[in-house]
Symmetry: C2
Subunit: 654 residues, 2 copies
């Protein structure tokens, strides 16, 4: 897709959004009821685009990696999220405007107001405010919220503000409240004082069953469904790790104030993989296949030093140099990278950023985000976290269910220790109902205790006591010997590497990356979606809706369907040029025109969306060519070598 964004016109977000709305890629849900922030419906092209992305995701990950697919419930009883930590920690602090009742996220409010004041100070000093750092999403958000008058601040206050901003992610709710009072931070929209911050859990609550006996939540991620089924998955995989489970499904987060279209929504489709791996061996069997693929990384150390420059480095070298912790993590970064490129993301606007220690989710040991650059800056689209053994451990402890792998040790571990063996018959005769107690006393002894007892027995007898009772032991009742033990089974809780895809974000940024306008006419938007994910692959355009074209339209549709190529017919009562323009906006890569020549000579023309070049040929040859184009086995220049160029009589005027 070399032509993508090769437009002379600068990217215009308003134009793209108008196109997406006009062509019903997506729209605010419940629009005729006034809409609800953060809820969007996908229309026909958006749904098909999403379905095609998911189909490719399934192929790229589930099929090619032999993953185990899951489909678990959205409704989740509260105890699961109490154990996972989400009830306590999956929350943001919010404040209310004390007059209007408007709700604001406390950290965004403090950050936004302080940044605005610093900007005002710089303006007052006659300095242009620095443009916001490209990589700091939170700063961008805050910037939108507040704008302060140009007022000079003391050096001391500037230093305080800057230090506060640098630590913003670390403040507790009460501390954020304290900052609001100390710096008189108010709702910038109304200048009203705000309330004390209260914690707001981002999970939607509901109640399962008719009597409210099961409080529950809508899941904020699909991951817990994988962990709870771990024992079954392991069994399905014949007891062996590594293996991965995968799931595509809806999740829900009750965002305090969702903005930014599809980038921050309350209901979204995720695709999540949980790769279970031996914590002592995070190598990957297919690492060799991908080790030379280069990635653009922004690691933690570079960020700590305040820089955002990327390191372009092969996966193999990144692991060798310790930038990426292990092969499995690096393997998934590459697989994520190749997936995103396949569906049409611009590699120049894709990077992998390592989380800073203070921004990781409570369960994560390490995390790299695939970030895609769009008009809103860099957005996290795929998280690739090492959740270590956190989840399996907490669920296992809570429920008493072992969530472990047992493997045969190649080299059994041999240990020696003193061991008591009882002559049970004599023991029973001697101690009667106290027999079990005596055994218990002896078995409770540690190595030193057993050695002491062994020495005493060697002298003839020994006495043990408990609860005021004392028992005399002799070598006839028990012997203590040094024995060799061989441990041939190793039991461990696997670690989890979790690539987690936000499909709505990827879909929206793909639309940004593929949108451009014809050089001669800025109004004529084009979405250069790759055929792999384009909602419709081929548009069939009869010259008019007249009946004489019907048999050909049916024939071509049927033949394309048989070839597995999804086509649509546009026989609406408008010019061929307008129909093509509409389908350029829908991202349809190829067009077929049926005109009087088709009826007479059984030829038809084939148009390519990005170049608008046309070829001509016999119906069956054109179908064979476009099928290969859609499958990706040939490109347009190759098609142009097979079929003659069409620039004769302009039956197709544009």
């Amino acid at each position: 897709m070399s032509s993508v964004n090769k437009t002379a016109h600068p990217f215009d977000k308003a134009r793209l959004e108008a196109l997406l709305n006009r062509r019903f890629f997506y729209a605010k849900a419940f629009e005729i009821y006034g809409g609800i922030s953060g809820l969007y419906d996908y229309g026909p092209p958006g749904s098909s685009l999403q379905a095609n992305i998911i189909a490719e995701w399934r192929k790229h990950f589930i099929v090619e990696e032999g993953m185990l697919e899951l489909d678990t419930t959205i409704l989740t009883p509260a105890p699961v999220f109490e154990t996972s930590g989400h009830v306590a920690r999956f929350a943001d602090w919010m404040v209310k405007d004390t007059v209007t009742g408007d709700v604001l996220r406390a950290d965004h409010l403090v950050g936004g107001v302080l940044e605005a004041r610093l900007a005002g100070h710089k303006e007052a000093k006659g300095l242009a405010a620095n443009p916001p750092a490209q990589d700091d999403k939170d700063k961008k958000k805050r910037k939108k919220q507040a704008k302060a008058a140009p007022v000079l601040l003391s050096d001391e206050i500037v230093a305080e503000y800057e230090s506060t901003l640098a630590q913003l992610d670390n403040y507790s709710g009460p501390e954020l409240g304290e900052l609001c009072r100390k710096y008189d931070i108010r709702n910038p929209d109304t200048s009203n004082v705000v309330s004390e911050p209260v914690q707001f859990n981002l999970m939607f609550a509901s109640s399962i069953g008719p009597t409210g006996q099961h409080p529950g939540y809508l899941r904020p991620e699909t991951a817990q469904g994988h962990f709870l089924n771990f024992a079954r998955l392991l069994d399905f995989n014949n007891g062996r790790v590594p293996f991965a489970s995968a799931q595509v499904g809806r999740s829900f987060r009750n965002e305090i104030s969702p903005r930014a279209g599809l980038l921050r929504v309350r209901e979204f489709t995720m695709a999540e993989i949980e790769h279970f791996v031996d914590p002592e061996d995070k190598s990957h069997v297919r690492f060799g296949e991908i080790k030379d693929v280069k990635l653009r990384l922004l690691d933690r150390h570079v960020q700590v030093s305040g820089r955002t420059d990327l390191t372009e480095i092969s996966a193999g070298e990144a692991v060798a140099r310790g930038i990426v912790a292990n092969e499995t993590l690096a393997y998934f970064l590459v697989r994520i990278y190749t997936f995103l490129l396949k569906i049409g993301i611009d590699p120049a606007r894709l990077r992998f950023r390592q989380h800073m220690a203070n921004e990781m989710a409570h369960y994560a040991a390490d995390c790299w985000d695939a970030e895609i650059q769009g008009s809103n800056g860099w957005t996290e689209c795929v998280g690739c976290a090492d959740r270590a053994a956190y989840d399996l451990t907490v669920h296992s402890e809570k429920t008493g269910t072992p969530l472990v792998v047992r493997t045969a040790l190649k080299d059994p571990i041999v240990t020696e220790k003193e061991t008591a063996e009882f002559d049970k018959k004599s023991l029973g005769k001697t101690f009667g109902k106290d027999t079990a107690l005596v055994q218990e006393i002896v078995n409770a002894l540690d190595e030193a205790g057993l050695l002491k007892l062994k020495g005493e027995l060697a002298q003839g007898s020994a006495t043990v006591e408990r609860d005021g009772k004392s028992f005399t032991l002799t070598p006839a009742l028990l012997t203590i010997e040094r024995k060799t033990f061989k441990q041939s089974i190793r039991e461990f809780t696997p670690n989890v590497i979790e690539p987690s895809f936000g499909l709505g974000r990827i879909l929206y940024l793909l639309l940004e990356h593929t949108f451009w306008s014809r050089e001669q006419d800025v109004e004529r938007g084009v979405l250069s979606l790759p055929p792999l994910v384009a909602p419709t692959k081929v548009l069939i355009v009869p010259l008019s809706a007249r009946e004489e074209f019907d048999p050909l339209v049916l024939e071509v549709s049927a033949k394309l369907r048989k070839a597995g190529v999804f086509s649509r017919v546009d026989d609406s009562n408008t010019s061929i040029g307008k129909r093509y323009a509409r389908n350029d906006e829908l991202g349809t890569p190829f067009g077929i025109t049926l005109d009087f020549a088709s009826v007479q000579n059984r030829t038809m023309t084939l148009r390519e969306r990005d170049t608008t070049d046309q070829l001509i040929g016999p119906i069956d040859e054109v179908i064979a060519t476009v099928t290969e184009l859609v499958q990706g086995s040939i490109d347009w220049p190759e098609a142009a070598r097979r079929l003659p160029r069409y620039d004769g009589v302009q039956a197709v005027a544009e």
Copy 2:
């Protein structure tokens, strides 16, 4: 799949359920937390089976019928369901055990207890209780709940009970409460008195946004998302009907006491189509293609007469005879039928039953259910309802948004009527600020009033009055003439035909229809899933996990993947026979064995699941054959003509 259920063993539900649990087709969700009734997780084979059914559904309906796909939100603000009627009417009546607090559905309780008493009466009279009618699901449910002692009843009471049971669906909550008191109906599990019935809405409630400002529900069907987007969909379809939207997604119903495994659950995946059609023309353009397909129908009239015998009749005749109301409804019944057969449902256990007037949903004008017979009797799996204009009308009225189609009339409707035309200048001069009032008075006149005024004006002048004011009109101020009006646009609210698929029910009954056991060994379960939907198409079985087989395993896997055939390798440390048996339980239709002969001669064997017959051939020939088998372009007998039978040295002992 002629071999399906050709087993000598009777169907054994317990064995099937054990298999489904063992192989993790599905399991109770949150099992390690004790589980929650009505919530299930699908494991790898269940998820793949479901994904394959959905993929075929998309192809069969969305692609082949050119439907418009949608993906709308699950979270829905309350006003939508207030308008649709779900808040008021999507509810069941429940009672509580006054001692234990156990909750029961009131109609199930009353029905169950009265039926049990009638059964007890018959038993006491020495008659065997009639076996429950095969087609009455509710009776089955009730039967499970209650069992009464054999007690004789008076003839009068028997008649009362029978009459009550016949009307059970018509009672209100208070009437059900009255019945409990009158007949002393108690919780059969505890013999405790039950509370007055209270209405329990089956929608899960939640709250959207941080301040609870938007009460909402989880949708109980995906349909409302289609209706709310109607205007956008119509625009997308160039303003024309008929067209259909389609959506696959989760819905939720907070069942009072879910039982029966996947057949009655609280969270489920639906596939819904809303076909928007001109109420005056419900013909279907492709009806001719399917009119000769025969369906097995159980219509309303047959049911009213207490019978359950099926009418086997072609779609064309069913419409001609008025059994099915129109072509579009009949077209969808046939398309539903062919879809269900394609995925493997037994046609002998499939029927279409028309809803009785008293069982239809509040929005339905007519409804036919595709019912599938299983061990629980007949279960509704696809509803095909004519929702008429109900939904679009109520949403349009509530929101003031026109949800209508405007079409050009071929023959404009011409009407004539008397029409007043004012000389606005003179009128203004004469009446000043009363001008508008005078015009309003005249315009409010009906045809007769205008004719009277016209006559008076012909006489020279006329007087009109309002609010004590009177105005004298003359021909200089207005003229009244008979004019011709041509209406060339027709505006109407389309009707909706809604095929709605419960995918979990279909999936479960498909498993029942394809499950059987090997004649020689009842323990060896087989799922004869068609290749189209089978979770894995081909199992690759190397003789052992020894390294010498690795290159061949990789080669065969890669070649199958390239051919689009989903395979899995089973190199676990167990006999080939055991590995095949495990995959018979997973419904894997074909198996490939790689042994020493494969390494030496590059041949491999191909095994068919249902017959266990094996063929042998060169690697590439076997791959080509199995690819065609999976695609359905050849069958096993044809494969056996291409490749020699393998029954030589039994490297593959079973």
